[in-house]
C-alpha cells in the first residue's frame, strides 16, 4: 500500500452542505446520468457526478477549488433526470453558498451572513448609521418628515455629502475585503491540475465577459427559460441602475466640486438620460426579480431548492429596486411621510446589498467570473453540447 491515497473526510463540511439544501447528496449512486444530461458539462472535466462523490466523501478543499461549481448555472436538468433524486443541482447550490463563507475575509462576516440569527444585527448596523445621518442633519427638527403633502427633498434629511462619505469609504473597504476573499479563492483554483491547454489569460477574460454578457449558458437550460430571462433582466437592470447612480454622483457632486459648467443640479429630473437609465434599470430589476421569485416559489424540479442565501439576496436586491422606484414616484407625487420612510429603507437596503456583497449570494458574480476565467484559460470549460 505504498501508493495509497489517504482521504480525509471533513464530516462537519458534509453536515453543513446537507443542512444548506444538499440533504439528498448521499442518495447518489454514481450512475453519471447527470454529467450526460448537463448541457454545460465539459467533455474532459465532466460534472456534477464527480463532485457528488467528493461531497459524499467530505473532500472540502478539493471541491471548493473546483471551477465546475461555477460552470453550473443551476438549470437543474441533472436533478430532473437523476434516477435517485439525489438532486445534484441543489448540492451544487449548497456548495456555492458554502464558498462565500469559506473564502470570506474577515471570516466572521461570512459566518454572520450564513446565519439567520445574525440577520437582525446585520440590518441594525446600516439602520443605525443611516439614522445617525438623519439625526445629525435635522438638528432636532423632524416635523417636516411627517407631512402628508408637500415638496420632498431627500437631501435635507440625508445630505449628499454625508452619504457619499459613508458609501465611498465603505465601498473602498469592501473592495479590499472582496479582493482578499478572491485571492484565497484564486489560490484554490490554481491548486487544480488541469491536463488541457487553454487559450491564455487575456482571451479567457474576454471570453468570460462575452459569455456573461450574453447569458449564453443560462440560455442552454432546456427545461426552464424564466431563469434566463429573469437573471438577464436583473443583471442588466442592476448594471443600469448602478451606472445611473455613479453618473449621478459624478455630475451632481464631482463635476460640481470641480467647478465645471457641466454639472447637473440635484435631483436629476426626468427626462435627463441619466434618470431614464436609472428608471429603465429599476424596472428591469423589478421584472427580473419578480420572475426569479416566482420561479423559486413554484417549487418545481426546475427551480431546485432555495436556501437562505438565495432568498436573502433575491429579496434584498428586488427590494432595493422597489424602494428606489418608489422613492422617485413618492417625490413626484409629493407624499413626504411615505417618501422619507421609503428613502430611508432604500438606503439601508443598498448598504446591506453592497457592503455585505462578498459574503452574501451577491458574491456569486465575483466567484463565477473568476472561476470561468480560470477554467477557460486552462481549457476546462468546453461544454460538450455548445
Amino acid at each position: 500500500m505504498a501508493n495509497a491515497t489517504i482521504l480525509q473526510p471533513d464530516i462537519e463540511f458534509i453536515r453543513q452542505i446537507k443542512a444548506a439544501g444538499g440533504d439528498s447528496l448521499k442518495k447518489c449512486y454514481q450512475c453519471a446520468t447527470c454529467s450526460v444530461v448537463c448541457n454545460l458539462a465539459s467533455e474532459n472535466h465532466a460534472f456534477p457526478r464527480k463532485q457528488m462523490v467528493l461531497t459524499q466523501w467530505g473532500l472540502k478543499d478539493q471541491l471548493l477549488a473546483d471551477p465546475s461549481l461555477w460552470m453550473c448555472h443551476q438549470c437543474n436538468d441533472c436533478s430532473t433526470y437523476c434516477p435517485r433524486e439525489a438532486k445534484p443541482g441543489d448540492v451544487f447550490a449548497a456548495l456555492r453558498s458554502f464558498s462565500f463563507k469559506h473564502f470570506s475575509f474577515p471570516s466572521f462576516m461570512g459566518k454572520a451572513l450564513a446565519n439567520k440569527a445574525a440577520l437582525p444585527a446585520l440590518f441594525l448596523v446600516p439602520m443605525l448609521i443611516i439614522f445617525a445621518v438623519l439625526l445629525s442633519s435635522s438638528s432636532g427638527n423632524f416635523g417636516y418628515l411627517f407631512h402628508f403633502t408637500g415638496e420632498v427633498d431627500y437631501a435635507i434629511p440625508f445630505p449628499h455629502g454625508m452619504l457619499d462619505a459613508i458609501f465611498v469609504t465603505g465601498n473602498i473597504l469592501v473592495f479590499f475585503f472582496i479582493a482578499f476573499s478572491l485571492l484565497r479563492f484564486w489560490k484554490g483554483l490554481k491548486s487544480n491540475d488541469p491536463d488541457a491547454k487553454g487559450p491564455g489569460f487575456i482571451p479567457a477574460v474576454i471570453a468570460t465577459f462575452t459569455e456573461l454578457g450574453t447569458h449564453k449558458k443560462f440560455n442552454q437550460c432546456e427545461s426552464e427559460k424564466s431563469r434566463y430571462l429573469g437573471h438577464m433582466l436583473m443583471f442588466y437592470g442592476f448594471i443600469g441602475a448602478l451606472t445611473a447612480t455613479a453618473l449621478n454622483f459624478l455630475f451632481t457632486t464631482i463635476i460640481k466640486w470641480m467647478g465645471s459648467p457641466w454639472y447637473i443640479p440635484s435631483p436629476v429630473e426626468f427626462p435627463n438620460p441619466i434618470k431614464l437609465f436609472g428608471i429603465a434599470g429599476g424596472v428591469a430589476m423589478l421584472i427580473g426579480g419578480w420572475l426569479l421569485i416566482r420561479l423559486r416559489m413554484s417549487g418545481d424540479d426546475d427551480a431546485g431548492k432555495s436556501d437562505y442565501h438565495d432568498w436573502l439576496f433575491l429579496i434584498v436586491i428586488t427590494s432595493v429596486a422597489l424602494t428606489g422606484m418608489l422613492a422617485w414616484i413618492l417625490r413626484i407625487i409629493e407624499i413626504p411621510i411615505l417618501a422619507y420612510f421609503d428613502y430611508y429603507a432604500h438606503l439601508v437596503l443598498v448598504f446591506f446589498l453592497l457592503w455585505y456583497a462578498p459574503y452574501s449570494k451577491f458574491g456569486h458574480m465575483f466567484y463565477r467570473t473568476l472561476a470561468l476565467i480560470y477554467a477557460k484559460s486552462n481549457g476546462i470549460d468546453k461544454p460538450r453540447k455548445l
Binding site: C31, A32, S35, V36, E43
Partner: protein
C-alpha cells in the same frame, strides 16, 4: 381433494392464475403432492413470456425443452384442469372457501378438423404479430406455439372484420363459429396462487434514450425476438432500419430501472440478459464490437462466472457509466450513445449501428389486480403476507429470473397449503 365437477361448476383445492412458467410449476407441484388445481391462462397458449425467449441464461439453452417437460407432466395429470383464454372475473368468500367466477373467451374454432391446415394456409387475412411486438404479420388464424388445447386460435381483432367473416363462411361450416359467446365458469377453491407474470416497461417513457424515435433503438425483449428462430427475422440479428449487418452494438443497462422517475427497483434479470444477448451477437457476428454500459453489473451467485467469462471476450467491452443520451446521426440511422466514463471523468460518445435498452419488468398485477384484498407493495408486487388467501408466485411477487421464478412457484404451493390448514 380430487378435482370434481364439469362444465360450469368445478371444485378443486387451488386456483392458479397465469399459465407461464410459475403458474405451470405451481399447478404441477400442487398436484404431485395430492392436491388438485385449476390453471387459468388468458392467452390461447401456455408458457407465457418464457416461451418467447430465445435462450435461458447462463446455460444458453432454448427454454422450450424445459417447458415441454412441464407440459408433458401437465398433460398426463388428471388433477390439473387447464383453462386457456380464461380470466378471473370475481372472487367471493374467504381463505379456505373461495368461489371464483371465471370468464372464458370464445375460441371461434369448433374443432381440430383434419382439413384445418389447408384452410388456414389459405387464410387471406394477416394481422400484426403481437408475440413479435407487431414487427411482422401473421395469419389471423394461427397455431400458437405451446397452444392448449393444441388447436388453432383466431386473432380477436378480426372477428368483426367483414372480409374475415366472408372468408370464414366460405370454409367448411364446422370449422368456425364466429357467433360463439364468452362463457362463465364457477370454481370453488381453498386458495389462489397469483402467477400473472410481467410485461416490459414502456421504453418510450424514457425520453432521453430514443426508443420509439429512432428505428435502431430496440428493447431487450424485442431483441430476444430478433434472435429467436420463430421471431420476425427468423433468428437473424440485424438492424431494424435497413436489415444491415451489425458491426457495433450498444447495450444500455438500467434503462428505466433503479430510477425514481421510472421503476425504482432493480429488475434482477437485465444484466444477465444483456450478457446473454451479447453472446448471441458474438455468435452470429464474430467481427462485431459489443459495448455494455452499466451502473453496476448485477450477476449474483453462479451468474458471476457468466459475467466474468463474457468480460474476458475481446469483442465485448464493459463501460462503467450509464447512458443518458441516445441520438441519431443525421443522414444515417446510426446512433450516438453518450455516457460518462466514471473512471476517467470524461464523457464518451460512441457511434453504434444498433442500441438495445435493457428495460425492466413491470408486474402484470398492476393492470390485472387480484379481485380480492391482496396485499401489494407500491409497485404492484404481491406481498408475502398471504392472509388474504392469495399467494404470489414468480414475477407477480418480485422480479425474478426463470430459475428463481420456478423456485418461488414451488414455495408458493407450500404457502397455499399452510394457509389452507389455518382456515
Amino acid at each position: 381433494m380430487e378435482i370434481s365437477g364439469n362444465g360450469d361448476q368445478i371444485t378443486a383445492d387451488i386456483l392458479v392464475v397465469g399459465g407461464g412458467i410459475a403458474g405451470i410449476t405451481a399447478a404441477i407441484e400442487a398436484s404431485e403432492i395430492g392436491k388438485s388445481a385449476v390453471l387459468v391462462e388468458k392467452e390461447p397458449f401456455l408458457g407465457g413470456r418464457v416461451a418467447k425467449m430465445n435462450q435461458y441464461f447462463p446455460k444458453l439453452c432454448p427454454p422450450l425443452c424445459g417447458l415441454e417437460i412441464n407440459f408433458k407432466r401437465l398433460r398426463f395429470n388428471d388433477q390439473v384442469k387447464i383453462m386457456t383464454l380464461t380470466t378471473v372475473e370475481e372472487v367471493t368468500g374467504k381463505p379456505g372457501d373461495f368461489e371464483i367466477t371465471l370468464k372464458v373467451e370464445p375460441r371461434y374454432v369448433k374443432d381440430d378438423s383434419p382439413d384445418f391446415d389447408e384452410y388456414v394456409e389459405a387464410c387471406p387475412i394477416e394481422v400484426p404479430n403481437q408475440d413479435n411486438f407487431g414487427i411482422d404479420m401473421h395469419k389471423a388464424v394461427y397455431l400458437p406455439q405451446m397452444a392448449y388445447p393444441s388447436i388453432y386460435a383466431v386473432d380477436p381483432s378480426v372477428v368483426n372484420d367483414d372480409k374475415f367473416k366472408s372468408w370464414a363462411k366460405g370454409c367448411k361450416t364446422d370449422i368456425f363459429d364466429l357467433d360463439m359467446k364468452p362463457e362463465t365458469v364457477k370454481v370453488k377453491a381453498a386458495a389462489i396462487i397469483w402467477a400473472t407474470g410481467w410485461q416490459p416497461y414502456d421504453a418510450a417513457k424514457i425520453d432521453n434514450l430514443g426508443f420509439g424515435k429512432h428505428d435502431n433503438v430496440v428493447t431487450n425483449v424485442i431483441f430476444e425476438r430478433l434472435a429467436s428462430a420463430d421471431g420476425p427475422t427468423q433468428g437473424k440479428i440485424q438492424r431494424p432500419s435497413d436489415n444491415a449487418e451489425i458491426k457495433k452494438i450498444g447495450f444500455v443497462q438500467c434503462a428505466g430501472s433503479r430510477d425514481e422517475n421510472h421503476l425504482p427497483y432493480c429488475s434482477a434479470v437485465c444484466c444477465a440478459a444483456s450478457i446473454k444477448q451479447a453472446n448471441y451477437v458474438r455468435e452470429q457476428h464474430p467481427e462485431a464490437e459489443i459495448h455494455i454500459f452499466y451502473i453496476d453489473v448485477r450477476t449474483p451467485g453462479r451468474l458471476e462466472d457468466f459475467y466474468a467469462s463474457t468480460d474476458e471476450d475481446e469483442k465485448i467491452f464493459f463501460h462503467r457509466g450509464k447512458v443518458a443520451e441516445v441520438r441519431e446521426v443525421s443522414g444515417s440511422k446510426n446512433l450516438i450513445v453518450a455516457a460518462e466514463n466514471t473512471l476517467t471523468g470524461k464523457i464518451t460518445e460512441m457511434e453504434m449501428d444498433m442500441v438495445v435498452l435493457a428495460t425492466g419488468m413491470v408486474p402484470n398485477s398492476v393492470e390485472c389486480k387480484p379481485p380480492v384484498d391482496a396485499i401489494m407493495d407500491d409497485w404492484g408486487f404481491l406481498s408475502s403476507d398471504t392472509s388474504s388467501g392469495v399467494v404470489g408466485a414468480g414475477v407477480a411477487s418480485r422480479p425474478f429470473d426463470v430459475a428463481a421464478s420456478v423456485q418461488d412457484a414451488t414455495g408458493s404451493v407450500l404457502k397455499a397449503l399452510q394457509m389452507m390448514n389455518r382456515s
